[in-house]
Symmetry: C2
Subunit: 204 residues, 2 copies
DNA sequence: CCCTCCCCTTGAACGCTGTTCAGCGCATAG
DNA sequence: CTATGCGCTGAACAGCGTTCAAGGGGAGGG
């Protein structure tokens, strides 16, 4: 086996070890020395494969993102009704977060180097998610223009995301975890209905 | 001045110094040695007044919470219309977060000792906020029972909170910061309309 | 007023981080 | 097979939160 192959394999081993440790102990429980022991290499070797531990966590997060995308995509594909599509997407997202809390939190808790832009695939992956949300929303909210649809898609994602995130942090459990599915139904159900008469707009 | 008074004063000095440093450098930029230098005491003295740095941050957070409560309460008091009350509360919350990003984030980023429950006042402060939300919502959503009102109140708070939080983390800016007011109008505006009575009160 | 005792303050030291780098050993090319 | 260069090594470094033995200063009794 060539050196390059061994390096690539070790890289994968480290990502897997980091994922396992994050899943078990959370992002805060990740230590370089533990990872080196898990992967059977020296601490210094980690830094020949990744710029720093954050870069390694980002590699784990890329996998997590992919898994979220698959879960949500599968959920929406199995549901024909547009309104239900939005709701099952929310459920799928919340379920993933509930089943993989540590990996899910790592995606949002990893410290990015100050001033460094988030990796491009972060924005791209979420952008794809927004498109999936926008499609059924366009059918349902014919009263809204494309810009408003785009905005509401992102607002709905952020809303579900916020409920799930607050429920996992134990400090302010706005919506208790078992009530999240019902809250998703309530919130998305309300947002989905197309009102002809927009209530009051902000007085400009 | 008695020893007890000097201690109480130093305690306040430390909280103020921590608040200033959080506001300037963020929670991650808080160092025990810097705080000691700011307050003119030794590092060890901090630990005679607080269990650890997290406890000091919690004291800062208590002030932040109080300020948020005042901002939101003032906003709702100035607005008679229930639907607009909900929206201006959202705006007030988002504005506070935009104007005091570091303090606001510290409330949600501070690490709680593992297994330790969040301080009681966390839940109580937010509970009061939920009651303020529930009042106008009860008037508007007559189709919902008390349990659903309670749930929707919390869901709406979490939704606005999630939008603001995602917009401040630079990784997934679901709703760009300048668009947050509009997103709040869209989301709350949708949730506020009672489906049965989605009648347009046509002004003759 | 002074003395004594006790508690509070002090800051060096400890243990634990992420990260580095000089030197070593091994794979690779000739 | 040998020489060379590159990747691996792990002790060392800087910096963090937190501790604690030792010293000093305030409060109360003589």
């Amino acid at each position: 086996m060539s050196v390059a192959e061994r390096r690539a394999e070790l890289r994968e081993t480290l990502i897997a070890a980091a994922e396992a440790r994050i899943a078990r102990d959370g992002l805060a429980g990740l230590r370089a020395r533990d990872l080196a022991a898990d992967a059977g290499c020296a601490v210094g070797t980690i830094y020949t494969l990744f710029d720093d531990l954050s870069a390694l966590v980002l590699a784990v997060n890329a996998r997590t993102f992919q898994a979220i995308g698959q879960t949500v995509t599968a959920a929406v594909a199995a549901e024909p009704d547009p309104a239900r599509q939005l709701i099952v997407m929310g459920h799928a997202y919340a379920r993933f977060a509930a089943e993989n809390p540590a990996q899910w939190q790592a995606v949002f808790d990893v410290a990015l180097k100050t001033g460094a832009e988030a990796p491009a695939w972060y924005a791209e992956a979420v952008s794809g998610l927004f498109d999936i949300i926008a499609a059924p929303l366009t059918q349902l909210r014919t009263d809204l223009g494309p810009g408003e649809i785009r905005l509401l898609s992102r607002a709905l994602f952020a809303a579900v995301h916020g409920m799930v995130r607050l429920s996992q942090e134990d400090r302010i459990s706005a919506v208790p975890t078992p009530a999240i599915p019902e809250a998703i139904e309530l919130l998305i159900g309300s947002a989905v209905r197309a009102p002809k008469a927009s209530v009051d707009r902000k007085p400009s």
